[in-house]
Amino acid sequence: SLSDKLDVTFKKLRGQGRLTEDNIKEALREVRMTLLEADVNFLVVKQFVKAVRERAMGSEVLQSLTPAQQFIKIVNEELTSLMGGSAVDLELNSAPPVVILMVGLQGSGKTTSSGKLALSLKKKKRRPFLVPVDVYRPAAIDQLQSLGRQIDVPVFPSTDSQDPVKISRKAVETARQQGYDTVIIDTAGRLQIDEKLMAELEKIKAAVKPREILLVADAMTGQEAVNIAKTFNDTLDITGVVLTKLDGDARGGAALSIKAVTGKPIKFVGEGEKLSALDVFHPDRMASRILG
């Protein structure tokens, strides 16, 4: 683990009462390698290491800690605060129906996460309405309808010959009439470089003015997480992120990359295939997972 490596690094520098340029050089290298191995983006790692160096330089080593412990304390604190300090919840304080738009790359877990969110809102005594607007993927609408049936949440009866913008508009109108207070729109997976499909999301956004636009991202995403998140954010001004498949053993460096480049909070994590497997994001847990 990183703390074991740092113990070795700092052992070579006995009797140091202070973290200096020299004694932290090797330690910073260890941090850099650890983060790169955890899939944190190259440029994000550069930035982070620079921030840690600035905090570490000249910092007094507390009586109760070894230099290694002091250093890892700084790394952990820096990473945790970067990950977003504390949990941020959904913004549901506006006139119903509140619209939540789920977006992201193919296969990231949008449809499943839409179901999970609907279930969690239902448990909180809200009246969610699921809206399938993926008219491209075979049986995508069937998939969301099946999830809706599992949790007894109504699903708008879209068909794949309809237009996603029109479906969205009509579904929000239906929600308003039927008294559903939260609308979750599940969109088709798309490449962030697909101009036509990114424009489709902009049109949906303009049509239904979502209160939340959640980027659903796979925790095992590698270096490209930064470019994917940046484009979705630049195009749509996302309000938060759902990080999925955290029940795997991916270190999840994509979380840091996404947070660093968008500044937007990771609101939820997916921890399994069951619709109950949604949790709020814990920045401190994510930080120690990334550091290994």
């Binding site: 899939d39 296969g107 877990g109 075979p138 069937d142 590698g222 490209e224 029940d247 991916a250 295939e273």
Partner: protein, 277 residues
């Protein structure tokens, strides 16, 4: 990495960034980087074009063994498709079925993902698009039973190719990996030697976890071929180098989109070229 700049400090920094951001990983990137620094210090690499060719050779060597013609000798030839959630297994099966069908091969699909919502419906649409028959049971049925059924039906029809779809699963879930072992055993029971291909599907967007996935799936039931999907996106898929180095199995195809024709044979030199684009 073009033209006649000189190989200076700034250039080497750019190279380091290219290697790492392509998901080649720390180990592979720095091994290559060290070789480059060595050659540069001995004046064995004069300019960027030269360096680029050197890297292409080095990476190409690892990947060349990943480029082998797919020998299909058994009949029916049974392909079991596996991989973690959402990587593109079901879509890839549709595309593969279409390729084989166009080669006038008799193909049968097995809808052995009996767990995920609308998984069977999804594969059924692909079967219709590829114009091949599909064997399925109800949701919640035993996947091994569907696999068995499919193979039996294929043998009866004297099919050439059988492709079994399985549910996505994380390699860390012991019970789900046990389920894969059971499916494999059952296929072998129905036809000794089956499955003839265990095809692991990997997503080009995946980081270093792809290497762990490959190791664990291989450990569980043995992987004999790879497909890397979503290379139409911006991810370079550099993890394939580490995976091929570890498993020493061929990359059968790459997925480059969401429609029936978006599957291409793997070409190592094209792949390496794209790494440096």
């Amino acid at each position: 990495l073009y033209g006649d700049k000189e190989i200076d400090e700034e250039f080497l920094e750019e190279l380091e960034e290219i290697l790492l951001t392509s998901d080649l990983g720390v180990k592979t990137s720095y091994r290559l980087f060290a070789e480059v620094e060595e050659k540069v210090s001995h004046k064995e690499l004069e300019n960027p074009a030269h360096l680029r060719r050197f890297l292409q050779q080095e990476i190409g060597t690892i990947l060349k063994q990943a480029e082998a013609p797919w020998e299909i000798r058994e009949k029916p030839y049974v392909i079991m498709t596996i991989g973690v959630n959402g990587v593109g297994k079901t879509t890839t099966i549709g595309k593969l079925a279409s390729i084989f069908a166009k080669q006038k091969k008799k193909v049968v699909l097995g809808a052995a993902d009996t767990f995920r919502a609308a998984a069977v419906e999804q594969l059924t649409v692909w079967a219709e698009r590829a114009k091949v028959p599909i064997i399925k049971q109800s949701m919640g049925a035993d996947p091994a039973a569907v696999a068995f059924d499919t193979l039996q039906s294929a043998i009866k029809r004297e099919a050439d190719i059988v492709i079994i779809d399985t549910a996505g699963r994380l390699h860390t879930k012991v019970n789900l990996m046990d389920e894969l072992k059971k499916i494999r055993r059952v296929l072998d029971k129905a036809l000794p030697g089956a499955p003839h291909e265990v095809l692991l599907v990997l997503d080009a967007n995946t980081g270093q976890n792809a290497i762990t996935q490959a190791q664990m799936f291989n450990e569980a039931i043995g992987v004999t071929g790879l497909v890397m999907t979503k290379l139409d996106g911006t991810a370079k898929g550099g993890v394939i180098v580490g995976v091929c180095d570890e498993l020493k199995v061929p990359v059968r195809y790459i997925g480059i989109g969401e429609s029936l024709r978006d599957l291409r044979p793997f070409d190592a030199s094209d792949f390496v070229d794209a790494l440096f684009d």
